[in-house]
Amino acid sequence: MGKHNHLFIAKRAAQELQNGFYVVLGAGIPKLVLGHVPKGADVMFLSENGLLGLGPRPQAAEVVPDLTDAQKGTAAAVPGSSCFSSADSFAMIRGSHIDLAILDALEVDEKGNLANWMIPGQMIKGMGAALDIAAGARRLVIAMEHRTKDKKIKILRDCTLPLTGLGVVSRIITEMAVIDVSPDGLVLREIAPGLSVDEVSRATEAGMKVDKDLKIVQV
């Protein structure tokens, strides 16, 4: 079920890719987008460890020494890729050269605040690149499950966990819905097939306006 949801979310998130975009994908569900890029989509993926032009996951036989992705696994590069230092990579990210970043989240709130790196009381793993990506991407889309595994609500009025970024999220894509963050709060744009607005609302703490052109998610 989790895996099915993840694929659904990733496929919908892949629709966010526009021709000409430079894109960063975070760990977790966002990384799955790499396997669902629409045919002919003209986009370049940055792997923030220092590769512009990340390709689909390589077969074992194609593994290149010293070519890994940001999650430290084997990687492939497309023709026209380039490799560089971490300092140069984060100059791209911090300098607003990334058109779109897709990240997973622990919590998002109606002001576009994001929490995705730390749960007090649990062992700290470190923020890695999350804070830089949140601060630097021109557009930040969250691709996550609507609630936690034990059904705790993640889309809140105010984040309760330590923040990754302040007012940085533009859109939230879950297995239930596509929700935009607007200056007036959240707007429900798309709803998963078979769900009611009421069902989405009950799984969401923050209030949501419903788009008058509310659509069904197509993946």
């Binding site: 230092s85 300092a87 911090r94």
Partner: protein
């Protein structure tokens, strides 16, 4: 100039207890493994290690943790190492976590003579606590300070005796900036070439940044995880 040292043991012989050392690498890629092993063998203690990750239990910086040689880590992501968690919980290891771009930029600043810089990263988060903030053109920034160390360990692919280095693929990562930000930079390489063999336009680390150079004994090609 000839910066070649016969082996890793000799190259690190003068590293004292309590030293701050930058160590290149991202996960298991671009890690100066021969220098780390030599430092383990030497046994210098109370070290401050500045490295993106803490390695795994039996590779990379993890080896130094295993031998309890480290007093403090400055890192960005430490989630891959079991022992690390134990040491921190027992109070045997201090940890300072930086956002990865801030970490890279602090090191670049240290090498480039920049005292500090204003970054948008971390504004409004606990990372910005007790730090100065200011805004330009409506955008908020946090002041972060330069980071330097007494030693840097870097891993490159090819190098010449002048200390010129080139890296391969994503093994570059933090190595080029760390090479600039230490009093003594020690580079280990896979292949030693003659000065002039590396294309001057393609050298990633000009020799000016490297004080000692050695050819690594062997290199383990590890893949951490099929992604």
């Amino acid at each position: 100039m000839n910066k070649v040292i016969k082996d890793a043991r000799t190259a690190i012989a003068d590293i004292p207890d309590g030293a701050a050392i930058m160590i290149g690498g991202y996960g298991l890629c671009g890690v100066p493994e021969n220098l780390i092993q030599a430092l383990c063998d030497k046994g210098a203690r109370n070290l401050t290690i500045i490295s993106n990750n803490v390695g795994v239990d039996d590779f990379g910086v993890g080896l130094l943790l295993h031998k309890r040689q480290v007093k403090k880590m400055i890192s960005t992501y430490v989630g891959d190492n079991q022992l690390f968690e134990e040491l921190v919980l027992n109070g045997d290891l201090q940890i300072e976590l930086n956002p990865q771009g801030t970490f890279a930029e602090r090191i670049r600043a240290g090498g480039a003579g920049i005292g500090g810089f204003y970054t948008p990263t971390g504004y409004g988060t606990i990372v910005a606590e007790n730090k100065e903030t200011r805004s330009w053109n409506g955008k908020q920034y946090v002041l972060e300070l330069a980071l330097r160390a007494q030693f840097a360990f870097v891993k490159a692919w090819k190098g010449d005796r002048l200390g010129n280095l080139i890296y391969r693929k994503t093994a570059q990562n933090f190595n080029p900036q760390m090479a600039t930000a230490a009093d003594i930079t020690i580079a280990e390489i896979e292949e030693l070439v003659e000065p002039g063999e590396l294309d001057p336009d393609s050298i990633h680390t000009p020799g000016i940044f490297v004080q000692r150079l050695l050819k690594g004994k062997h290199y383990e090609t590890r893949i951490k995880r099929e992604s």
